[in-house]
Amino acid sequence: MILLKLIKKFGKINSIVLFICILLLLLEFVGHRHGEFKIEEFLFFPALFGYISCIVIFKVGVALRSIFMRDEDYYD
């Protein structure tokens, strides 16, 4: 019931992505996931890294708008 409510509120495709995310986190416990560097083997490292990177990129991007953004006909 709660699940249906969530799907309704969050949208179908978004819920599917959320479901896959949870599944991928659970897969971590199936086998040992080794990385190129030691720190990568930390629990959920790639997931955290991906999530945080995306937020950072978005935040920096928005901040850069005020510096690098000009009118469309700036060069004309």
Binding site: F37, F45, C54, I57, F58, V62
Partner: protein, 564 residues
């Protein structure tokens, strides 16, 4: 006889017969040229043709394990571009596409610096017509700037080649060092075409100004030719690792704020080149394989993305994120192909980007370059953000834009489907793909750790985007221009120089110093020639100033080197 000519040569020469053919025959003829050219690929490795002029041996046709994979993918790209553009009845663009592809392929087979220089310039002069094919005032001016930058690169290459010949007694295209002046000049020449940081302005400035077909052709050849040249001459040069890492890093943010989706792809192209440059900088066999594999896969998926945006531009008339959206209903096949391109570039397992990028990431791991590794990992999340999600999402989903276009023409669909199928095949059968790479290295991209890490990274980055969009934190796309490194020569240099001139004028008036008289006379003389006598019309006047300034800078650098 025909086999001793380099592949591509027949395309370059054959292109000039195109105006005499009827429209339908033209497309068939172009495909025939590509097939004919590709036969020379089976010649085997070695030097097939040298021409002796004035005691200098031009090595016209030399092929080896490095040039072959690039030559194969250039042929594929030429083939796909011809199909993609066959709805158009434009013989000028046809000539430009086929001669440009031919020149790029022939450049891969140059065995010495002067032959490389000739083809290097040929790619510049053929591709500029693709930008002019955009048929707008902006395209016309962008083409002007483009040719100046490309010729600059050629001049550096020529100067480097002459110095190299002078000091070494030969000008063979082989391993070089940036410690000597000749090596440094050649490095700069390659760096301009490979769009190094601060030398990259021309790429984002000009590629999106070409027509829907022109951009696809442009995205395939010039920059990858530069990667090939770097791999041949500067493999293992440490500084490339840092340059490449910077290249993967900073275009991400520009791509995030850019509104024109083809320009977003141009930034993303720059970011992808960064991965290849890092790999060339590492220089191990695995890394060079990675650079080549990535260039190969990249040409196909980037072409696919540019094709899907080209189809949107063709049907809707704009490529701005702020004016697009909700096209999935009307252009479903284009949308699916675009999504396949987006998934490939994001390097999801089972797609071409994954099997290519894994080689580079693993070689970074083997060399213990942890900082660069995590920078590239960050960039991978960035690729997903701006190419993987932004491109298909803002064009085909997001909000309703009110456009109700037809599906793309059949020829475009065929070209996009070929691209998509290649992306998937490379991803599913990496072992076959790895066989064409320069070195035989045992490598298995599909293991549990690799796949899981990559999937976690990408899905969580996608999930972050979903959260931002769902909770309406993501700001709307705005019509805008994003400043890039071309700002230096489009705005800053002209402003500085006009300020200096104004300052001199004031000095002259206040103190009536006579020594400025001569200066003024010269300035007025050039001003009269350029503007009043209408040698160059006012529209191009501004760009001509830039040309003169850049030319001045080159002369200055050359004098400086000479004095040193």
């Amino acid at each position: 006889m025909i086999n001793s000519f380099p592949p591509g040569f027949i395309m370059f020469i054959g292109a000039f017969l195109i105006p005499f053919l009827p429209k339908l025959g033209r497309q068939v003829y172009m495909i025939f040229l590509v097939l004919l050219s590709s036969f020379s690929l089976f010649n085997g490795f070695g030097t097939h043709l040298t021409i002796n002029v004035l005691d200098y041996n031009f090595i016209i046709n030399h092929s080896d394990n490095l040039s072959l994979p690039f030559a194969i993918v250039f042929h594929i790209a030429a083939f796909i571009t011809i199909i993609f553009g066959s709805h158009k009845d434009d013989w000028k663009e046809n000539i430009a596409v086929i001669s440009y592809a031919g020149a790029a392929i022939a450049a891969l087979h140059a065995g010495d610096l002067f032959t490389l220089f000739l083809w290097w310039e040929a790619t510049a002069f053929t591709s500029v017509f693709l930008i002019l094919g955009g048929n707008t005032t902006r395209a016309y001016r962008a083409a002007f700037r483009y040719i100046v930058i490309q010729v600059c690169s050629g001049m550096f290459l020529l100067a480097g080649a002459v110095l190299f010949l002078y000091s070494n007694g030969n000008a063979l295209l082989g391993q070089m060092s940036i410690d000597d002046t000749s090596g440094l000049l050649i490095f700069l020449a390659f760096g301009i075409k490979a769009a190094f940081p601060f030398l990259n302005g021309w790429l984002q400035d000009t590629y999106p100004e070409a027509s829907e077909v022109g951009t696809v052709a442009l995205s395939s050849f010039t920059t990858k030719l530069a990667i090939y040249a770097l791999a041949r001459s500067f493999a293992g040069t440490d500084i490339l690792i840092y340059i490449g890492a910077l290249m993967t890093f900073f275009p991400i943010f520009f791509a995030v704020i850019e509104n024109d989706l083809r320009r977003v792809l141009a930034y993303s192209l720059n970011n992808q080149l960064g991965f290849m440059v890092v790999a060339v900088g590492i220089g191990t066999e695995l890394a060079i394989n990675g650079a080549v594999a990535h260039a190969f896969a990249h040409i196909i998926y980037k072409g696919l993305l540019f094709m899907s945006m080209g189809a949107v531009l063709y049907r809707v008339g704009t490529c701005k994120a702020s004016e697009l959206g909700g096209l999935f209903k009307y252009m479903p096949i284009t949308a699916v192909c675009s999504i396949i391109g987006a998934i490939s570039i994001s390097a999801f397992p089972l797609f071409s980007g994954f099997v290519a990028k894994s080689l580079i990431m693993s070689s970074l791991g083997y060399e213990g370059l942890s900082f660069i590794y995590f920078m590239l990992l960050f960039a991978s999340a960035g690729v997903l953000h701006h190419s993987g999600i932004k491109i298909p999402f803002f064009a085909f989903f997001a909000h309703e834009s009110g456009h109700k276009p037809k599906e793309a023409p059949l020829n475009m669909i065929i070209a996009m489907v070929i691209g998509s199928v290649l992306c998937i095949l490379i991803g599913i059968f990496p072992s076959i793909f790895y066989q064409i790479l320069p070195y035989s290295v045992e490598y298995q991209p599909y293991d549990f750790s690799h796949v899981l890490s990559q999937l976690q990274l990408l899905t969580f980055a996608a999930f972050a985007f979903i959260c931002l969009w769902h909770f309406k934190i993501y700001p709307p796309e705005l019509n805008s221009t994003v400043l890039n490194s071309d700002w230096f020569y489009r705005r800053m240099f002209p402003a500085v120089i006009s300020n200096i001139v104004d300052g001199l004028k004031i000095l002259n008036e206040k103190f009536s110093v006579n020594c400025f008289k001569g200066f003024n006379t010269i300035k007025n003389f050039f001003h009269d020639i350029m503007f009043e006598n209408k040698v160059i019309d006012r529209e191009a006047g501004f760009d001509t100033q830039i040309v003169l300034q850049i030319f001045g800078i080159i002369v200055f650098i050359l004098i400086f080197i000479h004095l040193k």
